[in-house]
Symmetry: C2
Subunit: 228 residues, 2 copies
DNA sequence: TTAATTTGTTAGTCATAGCTAACTTTTTTA
DNA sequence: TAAAAAAGTTAGCTATGACTAACAAATTAA
């Protein structure tokens, strides 16, 4: 049995839904997160999502009115943040100690984040000397579930002539991550916006490795700190 | 999705049954392993075990005739050995890097062994420099599923005056492991049999930390190498 | 060698968590 | 503002893997 202190007694599915809601509500900061949006995000049918939402409401992790928007309770938020903490710590471990690449870590971390042991994750944190950011540049919540959400400025929001520093990448797509690595971008790379083409909004950028033209879609997934 | 090369597509339950069968058939080297024995070992009803055995036979991991003894196919054995490899590597990691004690590792390793990623476990193995034995003294199978099963001589099989070295302990019970630690026994401890009491088969042993009287049941769970 | 006990099997139920199809409510837009 | 579209809900089905109760086969003991 799991230690009483750790055991929130949630299934893997319930955890996945709470984490998804957290991403949609808190990280994406949406005005309204609805049932179908959640279903699409998780690649399940609206009926399945609806069903699970009922369960999570009964357990007091989610609140919503009929036909209304979804929200997390404090309890639901805490569970989600702890999952994110576990996910990001495992990604950090895989990259920094087990030779995993950027694009390989996500899938395995999705499994590892469901391991139930408070001691495991806190010791892993200590072993790595309490890292602040994961390999994609995202903040890692501390043991109490506190963490700063980075103000997310995308590369696509900058103007010609601006100079920025790559602080994070959206880790949702393996193909995107592979592409980022291939053109030679890494965390902290300094990027200058050479030109934004009106025609298709594609952007010509310059950085240590040379010059590249990237699409608007690409630039939407790259988070930066404006330097100039 | 899991990499095709790793994905054996088994559920956690199916894996648990195969591992249980491996322990009962191969490690315990029983003449006959039956359905109810398997059920008892896994703390499920005979009906549940029977049901799962049907499924595993259909998938060609288990063979048996109606009302006959259970056996693993080559495929079933390989899956079980890989689980044991994962279990023991994770236990080693938890003990040697994350400050877990002997008795804490098992429960968490039971969860970790179901993580599906060939790379994860092979890199973990490399990270720890290919350990040969887990913290309880059990052999760790290599990446090809090969490993030596230690000839298991129990402390209880020795005679008065014999001297032996502790090579492994049965990791099935947390209380037992705590007890072993508390009296000061560790792997490689040299133990001398002072006296075996006819009355209750309790055994007086001497070792670095002093002398102790242990029960027959205790001695059945301690595996040794005879020295003298 | 029959009777008792143990062991194995089958049938039917439950919970989780997915699905489709049909329906209702809300929102959009013509 | 009424019709169309989108969003949300419900009902009913599926598979997995537990369970109990009832029964059959095999083994052990009388």
């Amino acid at each position: 049995m799991t230690n009483k202190l750790n055991s929130n007694n949630l299934t893997k599915s319930e955890e996945d839904y709470l984490k998804a809601l957290f991403y949609l509500i808190v990280e994406e900061d949406s005005v309204k997160v609805g049932n179908n949006q959640l279903a699409e995000y998780l690649n399940v049918s609206p009926a399945s999502a609806n069903n699970m939402i009922k369960k999570l409401k009964a357990k007091d992790y989610v609140i919503s009115e009929k036909y209304g928007k979804l929200d997390l309770t404090e309890g639901g938020r805490l569970i989600a943040v702890r999952l994110i903490r576990k996910h990001r710590l495992w990604e950090t471990f895989l990259c920094n100690y087990l030779n995993f690449t950027w694009d390989e870590v996500h899938e395995v971390a999705e499994q590892l984040e469901h391991i139930k042991s408070r001691k495991l994750i806190d010791e892993l944190d200590r072993f790595m000397d309490f890292p602040k950011k994961d390999p994609h540049g995202e903040m890692i919540p501390n043991a109490d579930g506190e963490y700063a959400i980075l103000p997310k400025i995308t590369l696509s929001s900058l103007l010609e002539g601006d100079v920025c520093e790559l602080v994070a990448v959206n880790d949702g797509s393996v193909n995107f991550l592979k592409y980022v690595s291939e053109i030679g971008l890494v965390l902290s790379s300094e990027i200058k916006i050479i030109e934004i083409r009106d025609f298709d909004k594609s952007i010509r950028i310059q950085f240590n490795e040379g010059e590249e033209t990237v699409t608007r879609k690409f630039a939407d997934n790259v988070f930066v700190n404006k330097v100039i």
